[in-house]
């Protein structure tokens, strides 16, 4: 090879080398801008609460896709890192430890349900993380964590606010009821609900004639309903999870429960499949809910969201309508996302301060948190099932079947009392 060519090759090599170094330096910087923001969480994707948990995840993914379509957060795409906690509280601490120490997520949100949120609290508190939470009852009562934010609109005093509406409705009736039966599953959420009901009963001067709990795996609820019936209560407040809610409703029908007001804190009566199966057995029951397709609750964006959800839920073996958890799952991420954009950083202290200060516009209306992370004003709806036809899912997609009785500003109809003819 001639000297000239050697020289040229040498020069070419040097130029290439310089270019390579330049790219190497520029490379990571360019990638830095596109580095995704990771939001980590555990979710009940199997086990007793999975029907709602999986539906919530679909709602959350819709939020992620909506946000990414508009360029992400702070110009960065949003990614989820999540694991199935199988509705088992024992799995939660391990999952959050992994999310924070191994997956190194930037932000965390909670799983679904009181039992699954509480175990994560010590970990997020130690790391001083902002913790938007999805439907846990009075979780922060014991922890008093100032960076906890609960999207469920229980209200500033969650344990009692949760059932206050049920009592206010009952006491507005004539003749005024005097006795109450309280029954709950032996599980954190239901026990909290029952404790609140007990306090409310005492506050409103009602005599508690039955106050018991049952093991969650109970098969037959007929003896329980008969025992309640034997005490002749005017009103019956139940705190239960989906299988027991179904069991109690069926047993109440079979026994012919003669109370004047029945329901209260039954999880599961908001799920489409259960509503369809119970059908007319639901008529008259007054139960809690957080969003129903009544004309008084048409928040901006919610119907658009539900349409997207309905599409995304097809064939996934989850609630086809998605009225209960998904809008709030979308909303708790909206709160987080809007805060990130508002403070222009992922600094947990700044985010927490913003979340306490601001009022958020979400698909479930305006959201404002109080000092303890619960909603500043309670918005537990008490709805009464009416005119429910047998074996019909579509009837629940529109108004008229779940009438909002309380609070006044969302009311869409008047109560039918006593609850059964």
């Amino acid at each position: 090879m001639s000297d000239a060519i050697k020289g040229l090759l040498h020069l070419a090599g040097r130029i290439l080398g310089a270019l390579a170094v330049a790219f190497a330096l520029a490379g990571p910087a360019a990638a830095q801008e596109k580095k995704p923001i990771k939001i980590g969480f555990s979710m009940a994707l199997t086990g007793g609460l999975a029907g709602a948990g999986k539906a919530a995840l679909i709602g959350m993914e819709i939020w992620r896709d909506d946000v990414n379509k508009k360029g992400g957060l702070l110009g960065r795409p949003v990614e989820f890192v999540y694991y199935d906690d199988a509705t088992q509280p024992a799995k939660v601490p391990g999952i959050y430890s992994k999310l924070l120490d191994v997956d190194k997520v930037d932000l965390v949100v909670s799983s679904y349900g009181t039992n699954e949120i509480a175990p994560a609290m010590p970990i997020v508190m130690r790391k001083k993380l902002v913790f938007p939470s999805l439907f846990g009852l009075a979780v922060n009562d014991e922890f008093n964590y100032d960076r906890y934010f609960q999207i469920m609109p229980a209200g500033p005093k969650p344990k009692t606010d949760w059932s206050a509406g049920f009592f206010e409705l009952a006491l507005a009736q004539k003749p005024r009821p005097t006795t109450i039966a309280i029954v709950a599953a032996d599980a954190e959420f239901a026990l909290n609900a029952a404790a609140g009901a007990r306090e409310n009963a005492k506050k409103f001067g009602l005599k508690i004639v039955y106050d018991r709990t049952y093991p969650p795996a109970t098969t037959d609820f007929t003896p329980i309903v008969r025992a309640i019936q034997a005490t002749h209560p005017d009103i019956v407040y139940v705190g239960s999870y989906p299988p027991d809610s179904t069991g109690m409703v069926k047993a109440a029908n079979e026994v012919g429960l003669k109370a004047k007001l029945f329901g209260g804190g039954m999880v599961g009566l908001q799920f489409a499949a259960i509503q369809k199966n119970l059908g007319p057995m639901l008529n008259g029951i007054v139960n809690y809910d957080f969003w129903v397709p009544e004309p008084t609750l048409k928040f901006p964006g919610v119907e658009e969201f539900l349409a997207k959800y309905k599409e995304a839920a097809k064939g996934k073996g989850v609630d086809p309508l998605g009225h209960y958890l998904p809008p709030y799952a979308y909303a708790y991420l909206q709160v987080l996302g809007q805060s990130v954009e508002a403070v222009k950083s992922l600094d947990q202290a700044k985010l927490a301060a913003h979340m306490h200060r601001a009022t958020f516009d979400t698909v479930v209306g305006k959201v404002k948190f109080g000092k303890n992370g619960e909603w500043e004003r309670s918005r537990v709806l008490f709805v009464q099932f009416r005119d429910v036809q047998p074996d019909n899912l579509e009837q629940f997609a529109g108004p008229g079947k779940r009438i909002v009785l309380h609070p006044k500003e969302w009311k869409s109809g008047n109560i039918v009392y006593p609850y059964k003819k």
């Binding site: 049952y214 098969t219 007929t222 008969r226 989906p242 299988p243 499949a273």
Partner: protein, 291 residues
């Protein structure tokens, strides 16, 4: 808060519930009680039965009990096949106690996960004309939702009991439980007999699953709630005894029901298992077990 009404209703509810428990436990009474196979996946098979009842009920509108009976032969062959694998891998080599148990744990998890993948995790329920209806006899109300499972369970138990005591194969099954070597000397192949018996045990889960979903909603992990109960019933009744199993199921159902009526439902499991411990302390082989 005692009243005759409540007592009568509690007893009846307990008997109906006990009948249902018997339907769930009878397969295990054969597999565990007679063949000493620790089939911890038994309740998982019951859940498969529930799902099949659900899908055929919602697509074709067939009665769940009918579905259970129709599908039972399929479950029989599945059970026989599983026994073949279990025998070849564990029983033949004498490792059935620990490795066999691990095998059935694995089967249980695989079943659960497959159900989740195929059917999703939402609760499933069935529709039938008699769900929600109640017959009133005096002060006692009998919900058909509990009566139908009881009647089916009683028929199933009676049928299996008669089969085991009257037919050749049935007696061979009882024999292999008592003395395997003697059975071999009599000219019957113990492996084929056990295979048949295990198939029969799994066939009952098709029916039990249909009964379960008539009574209440089902999702893939519900089976785990029954593991403790079914083993307790088989042990309490006495290993190898079908009538014992039925009586034990009754005792459990009645105890749960009366405790729920009078003391408070949260005591029900404590009382039920307390009875089990008490019985085993006095009669270690169970109520009707072989000594």
């Amino acid at each position: 808060m005692f009243s005759f009404d409540l007592l009568a209703n509690g007893l009846v509810a307990g008997i109906l519930l006990g009948g249902f428990y018997a339907a769930v436990a009878i397969g295990l009474a054969i597999a565990f009680g007679q063949l000493d196979i620790v089939n911890i996946a038994h309740p998982a098979f019951v859940i498969v039965g529930s799902y099949i009842a659900w899908i055929l009920n919602s697509r074709l509108g067939l009665d769940p009990v009918l579905i259970g009976v129709m599908v039972a032969p399929v479950f029989f062959f599945v059970g026989a096949a599983i026994y073949r694998v279990y025998y070849a891998a564990f029983e033949r080599t004498g490792q059935e106690s620990l490795s066999g148990l691990a095998f059935f744990f694995g089967v249980m998890f695989i079943i659960e996960v497959l159900l989740i993948l195929v059917y999703g995790v939402d609760y499933r329920l069935v529709n039938a004309g008699y769900i929600g209806e109640t017959i009133e006899i005096g002060v006692v109300g009998i919900p058909l939702r509990m009566l139908v499972p009881f009647l089916v369970a009683a028929a199933l138990t009676a049928g299996i009991y008669l089969y085991l005591s009257r037919t050749f194969m049935g007696r061979a099954i009882l024999a292999v439980a008592q003395d395997r070597l003697a059975l071999q000397l009599m000219g019957a192949d113990p492996v084929r007999v056990k295979q048949f018996a295990f198939g029969l045990a799994i066939a009952t889960t098709a029916v039990a699953g249909a009964l379960l979903i008539i009574i209440g909603p089902v999702e893939p992990s519900v089976g785990r709630q029954y593991i403790g109960r079914v083993f307790a019933i088989v042990v309490l009744g006495g290993m190898g005894s079908i009538p014992g199993m039925f009586i034990a199921a009754m005792i459990l159902g009645i105890a749960e029901s009366l405790v729920a009526s009078f003391m408070g439902p949260s005591w029900a499991p404590a009382v039920a298992f307390g009875l089990l411990l008490l019985t085993l302390a006095v009669r270690p082989s169970g109520l009707f077990g072989r000594q």
